[in-house]
């Protein structure tokens, strides 16, 4: 019998494990990752991305707006996370 994992605890906003956001205007729950990076050896900037259940991001595509924690982003890339693609990482750019 196949193992069916319940991902909702990982994206429990009330429990503080995730944040509410909108993806292309639709309410979703995401885990935000932001780090500082050095681009082209010239500039200190950021690398924002969100982790989201793939079931909630089936129509995610580059260019779509994302709003999270009062910050406006645009989807830059959408990629499935290993090992099974149950989670999706959405790379963002601040607009």
């Amino acid at each position: 019998m196949a193992f069916a994992e319940d991902l909702s605890p990982f994206f429990d906003v009330a429990g503080g494990f995730a944040l509410s956001a909108t993806l292309n205007g639709v309410q979703v729950q995401v885990i935000v990752d932001v780090q500082t990076i050095d681009e082209l050896g010239q500039l200190v900037t950021r690398q924002p991305s969100v982790l989201i259940a793939t079931a909630s991001a089936t129509s995610a595509a580059p260019g779509q707006p994302v709003v999270c924690a009062g910050v406006n982003y645009q989807v830059r890339a959408v990629s499935l996370e290993p090992p099974d693609g149950a989670l999706t990482r959405i790379d963002l750019v601040r607009v």
Partner: protein, 143 residues
């Protein structure tokens, strides 16, 4: 006073200060990364410098200094256009008559980031400047 090459760098950087798009943000001595709040901006640095003696028995050399003027921009859309617009304004300022030090454009190169937010680009205007200096008086530009 400073080494002749440093004076040349400062003179070229001063020409870039009035460039509208970069709002006076021109850096010549900064080696650590810029911040987003400091963009668009220019970095002006000396690269190679060659010296050739003018006449036997004299100590005056003809110097050829390679200068890199790196324009740095951040744009979520149309990054290419933003880079080119900055370069156009910068070159207009650098070569405004009379252009100093026999200034000559050597090349224009571009780089865009594919990491992070992929919204940063640099456009490098490489120039050569020529001037004469007595090697016994390295801080005196003889034009």
């Amino acid at each position: 006073m400073a080494l002749a090459a440093a004076q040349v760098i400062d003179a070229l950087a001063a020409r870039l200060v009035p460039v509208a798009l970069s709002g006076g943000r021109v850096f010549t001595s900064r080696t650590w990364p810029l911040t987003e709040a400091e963009l668009p901006a220019w970095r002006v640095t000396a690269e190679d410098e060659n010296a050739v003696r003018q006449y036997v028995g004299q100590t005056i050399n003809d110097h050829t200094l390679t200068v890199s003027c790196v324009g740095i921009v951040r744009a979520v859309a149309d990054l290419d256009d933003a880079m080119h617009a900055l370069a156009a304004q910068g070159m207009t300022a650098l070569f405004a008559a009379p252009a100093p030090y026999q200034l000559q454009l050597e090349s224009i190169s571009r780089a865009t980031s594919t990491e992070g937010e992929a919204a940063v680009g640099t456009i490098t205007v490489s120039l050569t400047a020529r001037y004469a200096v007595d090697q016994a008086a390295p801080e005196t530009l003889l034009v």
